[in-house]
């Protein structure tokens, strides 16, 4: 689309008017519920005691100083990074493995259909169902602990969600379970778009399956993989519900992530200024990733 020279005559103005009329409901919503709130939250981050105090005082960058020198904030950042990176890697491996299996010629299309539905199921559940289900599975007296002891993997009960050493890993495991189907389905859609000619050519060249995978499959679905990683990064970075309902950030902050850190400051400590500052920092990180994502999307078009 070249930078269109708009005809500002009567007919042209009317057409522009019509196009904005169709957009009006969206624009009104976006301004009131998106632009205004973002400006508000940025403003909050420069004031002291917002919402609670009727006349908040401007404090400049003081809140940013407080947050960025808070040891707990950096711990939360560390937990978040662990949570995000491990989730993404596991999502990718599991999603890829299942997608490849569902794309082999060994299975009939009915079998593929059944397993595709079965493997996609975890994606359908709401976070509170996943949280309660896994709290039951990971309970000290739960079924997973039964197997661990039956197989003599550990002498004591594993306190998956109550021990500081394993809680973060447990929460990450739950997130891996609930998130991999998105990769599986997307990769599968990508694989089905790769023409069989390329595979045949690769087979003629005498490439084995590992070589074909690395040199044919991966490059042809690379754009999908990059999009998946970016989307997942932003989503997992913002993950709140799952952590909140399994550990609440505990035990003793062991699973505190940036989202639970912000939520606690806002809704249990009522320090909205600090919460807003954290929220703005999170927004900046997400926007940076968002910009890369938008650039890629536009470049592909």
């Amino acid at each position: 689309m070249s930078n269109t020279r708009f005809k500002w005559d009567k007919k042209g103005r009317r057409r522009i008017g019509i196009s904005y009329a169709y957009l009006a409901p969206t624009l009104i919503l976006m301004v009131i519920l998106l632009m205004v709130p973002i400006i508000m939250v940025i403003r909050y981050s420069f004031f002291d005691n917002v919402i609670v105090n009727k006349n908040p005082v401007f404090v400049g960058l003081q809140n940013y100083k407080t947050v960025l020198t808070d040891k707990k904030f950096w711990e939360a950042v560390g937990h978040t990074l662990y949570f995000v990176i491990v989730s993404i890697i596991a999502h990718m491996i599991i999603g890829m493995a299942f997608a490849l299996v569902l794309n082999t010629r060994y299975l009939s299309s009915t079998t593929k259909g059944i397993f595709r539905v079965l493997f996609a199921l975890p994606w359908m559940f709401t976070a509170s169902v996943i949280a309660i289900l896994w709290r039951m599975l990971l309970d000290p007296n739960g079924v997973l602990n039964f197997f661990i002891q039956a197989l003599h993997l550990s002498k004591q009960q594993v306190l998956f969600l109550a021990s500081r050493d394993v809680a973060l890993r447990s929460v990450t495991l739950i997130n891996i379970w609930s998130g991999y189907p998105f990769y599986m389905i997307s990769i599968l859609a990508g694989l089905q778009g790769v023409s069989t000619d390329i595979y045949e050519a690769s087979a003629l060249d005498g490439a084995n399956s590992v070589q074909t995978f690395l040199h044919v499959t991966i490059p042809s679905i690379k754009p999908i993989l990059i999009s998946l990683i970016m989307l997942d990064f932003v989503w997992t970075l913002q993950q709140f519900a799952l952590i909140w309902m399994t550990t609440g950030g505990g035990p003793v902050n062991a699973t505190e992530t940036v989202s639970t850190y912000i939520y606690k400051y806002a809704f249990t400590k009522y320090q909205y200024s600090i919460a807003s500052t954290g929220a703005v920092i999170l927004l900046i990180v997400c926007t940076i990733i968002g910009i890369f994502y938008v650039k890629r999307q536009i470049a592909e078009e």
Binding site: A120, T126, P223, A275
Partner: protein
């Protein structure tokens, strides 16, 4: 050589299928299984896979509890409104993007793509004062409005893409017959775009039905709670009656699961559109 390779390939596929079935299926089986057990059997050792006292008591208790029924009514109401409003508002915007050129189009389009990266928790803090200020705190209307912000961008992008595949000559024909752009949209574009609308509708339904953070923070009393928040509230109120919580989880997941099983193709198309182009 080739034969042996084929056999080992088949074995790997079989192993992954078995592991995958346990990994994806076991937690779901355990949820359903436990919803039919007496509470005492849930943490039995060794685990009781198929209870001799299989019963529907947990479900009966939920259907007798007006608070829990209210969670479902609220969720259905909010979700239905969000799906309808998202589609209507989204279709209008998509039509504008697909068929018109206007100043600021590129900027608005970029903003709509970028909105999807804005963390809900960042919006939540200002929403709290905004929603209180317009007197919508603790109403379902607050949820409907705020969910639209997250569901609309996806709908607009998907439907713009869909409309772009419909030849412009079709709406030109309407114009020649003396019809307006409004007739072209509803008589030509919308009927042709039904499959795309179903995909978007599914995805919107799933997101609205499953939303937790806004529902938790923008409502306060039990009569305004939705299923995801309600399920978690049960955790405290029922003092660990796991069979009831599992029954509630099954019931709370059914609408999305049923839609998924019936409209699988559309569902998957909607789900993958973000990452997969064309």
């Amino acid at each position: 050589m080739v034969g042996r390779k084929k056999v080992s390939g088949k074995i790997i596929v079989l192993i992954i299928l078995i592991i995958g079935t346990i990994w994806a299926g076991f937690p779901i089986f355990w949820m359903i299984d436990n919803s039919f057990k007496p509470n005492a059997e849930i943490f039995a050792k060794p685990p009781i896979w198929f209870s001799k006292s299989f019963n529907f008591e947990a479900y009966a208790k939920i259907f007798q509890n007006p608070t829990e029924i209210r969670f479902f009514l609220n969720s259905y109401l909010v979700t239905a409104c969000v799906v309808v409003l998202t589609l209507v508002i989204g279709l209008l915007a998509a039509y504008s993007f697909s068929r018109f050129d206007f100043p600021g189009k590129k900027v608005i389009n970029t903003i709509i793509v970028a909105v999807q990266a804005v963390p809900p928790i960042t919006l939540l803090i200002p929403y709290l004062s905004l929603i209180v200020a317009i007197k919508l705190y603790n109403t379902l209307f607050a949820l409907i409005l705020t969910y639209l912000v997250t569901t609309l961008p996806y709908c607009i992008l998907m439907m713009t893409g869909y409309f772009n595949t419909i030849p412009k000559s079709l709406d030109e024909a309407v114009k020649i017959d003396g019809g307006s752009t409004w007739t072209a949209l509803w008589k030509i574009l919308v009927p042709t775009a039904v499959p795309g609308m179903v995909s978007v509708g599914m995805y919107t339904f799933m997101n609205a039905w499953n939303e937790y953070l806004f529902a938790l923070a923008l409502t306060k009393t039990n009569d305004m709670r939705t299923v995801p928040v309600g399920i978690n509230l049960l955790m405290g109120q029922h003092a660990y009656e796991w069979n009831q919580m599992m029954a509630m989880s099954v019931l709370g997941s059914l609408p999305v699961l049923v839609l998924f099983l019936i409209f699988q193709k559309y569902f998957i198309a909607g789900m993958t559109a973000g990452a997969v182009k064309n």
